[in-house]
Amino acid sequence: MSAPDGNRPKTGASIAPPAGSGPGSSATAPDVGRRKTSGAPPAGSATGSGAGDQLQRALDRISRVRGVRGSMWVAADDGIPVAQLLMEGVRGKAIAALAASLARKVSGASAATGAGRVRFVQMEAAGGTLLVAPASDDLLIVALADSRVNIGLARLEMIRAAEAARA
Amino acid sequence: MSLVNFTTREITCKIVYYGPGRSGKTTNLQYVYSQVPAERKGQMISLATQADRTLFFDFLPLDLGSISGFTTKFQLYTVPGQVYYNATRKLVLQGADGVVFVADSQLRQLDENLASLQNLQANVLEHGVDIRTLPMVLQFNKQDLPAELILSPPELDDALNFRGLPTFSADALHGPGVFETLQGIAASVLRRLSEGGGGIRRL
């Protein structure tokens, strides 16, 4: 049974990423938009450790890449956000659902053509770019970026996050 | 199916009030609820439409006190009577230890009574139960209406009572016959339980 009104419980306050931090710091810039964190850590995980914190740290690193407006872990089958770090105005639920749908279709096409497992999907639209990296059969890492984004860096962080989640 | 807990010495039985729409099933429970002391009953739950037609069920838990050293509890349920709600009616009927068939005594409702009896038989069969072994009583409700509008108890007995079941005349709105019916089905259920061997035969 889903929570009232279909909304996931919000657990964090608004945060802004620190300026100039992270790998390739010249490529990161302080994002002025307020970000909201949500997503409860898995049961049994202690503060400062555990799978939930790992997922959240991955989102932190991705969100520090210039141009990234939001990142999230998405349940691949359900198209529902598992954990997210989004700027105000970014529609997490919609992106999660559409990213999962896109990933499923692309995976199907890839399998049909014999191209193998999909590692990364990049969808450019007029208003921004959607980036999707499958972490496992049931988990995706998704980022929404604007035109300033350093795609290479974002992709790197996402693939790293996906590999860490698989490990 | 009756729940018998030998450790706590408790018996819990499920009684279902069945019958066509508007025959007085909910009215039976409402009357029982209004008359039973607070310490002997639980909260009555009614899942009904805005027009006060039973949508899913009414539920009333009763504590009958100690019988043969066992605390005996009865859970009374009603089902929705309309044909439309057969899917949910079937669910409520599942696991019934006894059935009170509430017949509408009005002459114009005879066909509905018969259809509902047939529906009961079909639904019981679907649950894999031999209806001949299911404790059941017939209540001829609305006997308070003008004589020209209703069938008499012998006429109703003739028309509906194929199995020679115990029958009770009633006016559920005002009370006559309601507790007699309940006592009748309770006795029937407990007698079957005491016969042992599972009581109700599953096909």
Partner: protein
């Protein structure tokens, strides 16, 4: 062949769009009593009758549970099955409180269904007639009313 059919015309456009966007296999729009106003995907009246009666019963049970917990109401309900999922949600409109039951397969997801359900609910609220005064249904007419809806949906 799957069809969309409606008892009340204002439901049709939002329903067709919702089915297309969400990729739903079956949809029922009904009153809280289980009376069907619109449907997609059902070919037999008996199946639609069972689905709507059960859907309305589930919502009534959830509402009773909410009351026990001191909640005003619950939102949507989602069940995941092996081959199908169901999404059941209340939808208040000017025409009255409605319920929408959506059955979907693995070609879509609960995320998509939830996403487009919100748009559908908003579209229903927008399209619902506000000027009709609904007559209270007499007890004697209650079942006839339920069956009339079904007959109109499966009129040959």
């Amino acid at each position: 062949m799957s069809t969309t059919s409606v008892v009340e015309a204002w439901t049709e456009k939002p329903l067709v769009r919702y089915v297309d966007q969400a990729g739903a296999r079956l949809v029922v729009v009904m009153t809280t009593a289980g009376q069907v106003l619109a449907q997609h995907g059902f070919v037999r009246a008996v199946d639609l009758m069972a689905a709507s009666a059960l859907g309305a019963a589930i919502m009534a049970s959830s509402a009773a549970l909410a009351e026990q917990l001191g909640e005003r109401s619950f939102g949507a309900l989602f069940h995941a099955g092996r081959r199908h999922g169901i999404h059941l949600a209340p939808c208040p409109t000017p025409r009255g409180a409605l319920i929408v039951l959506t059955v979907f397969g693995r070609e879509t997801s609960i995320g998509l269904v939830e996403l487009f359900y919100e748009e559908f609910a908003a579209a229903l609220r927008q399209a619902a007639p506000v000027d009709q005064v609904r007559e209270p249904v007499l007890a004697t007419d209650f079942e006839a009313d339920l069956n009339r809806s079904l007959s109109s949906l499966f009129r040959r």
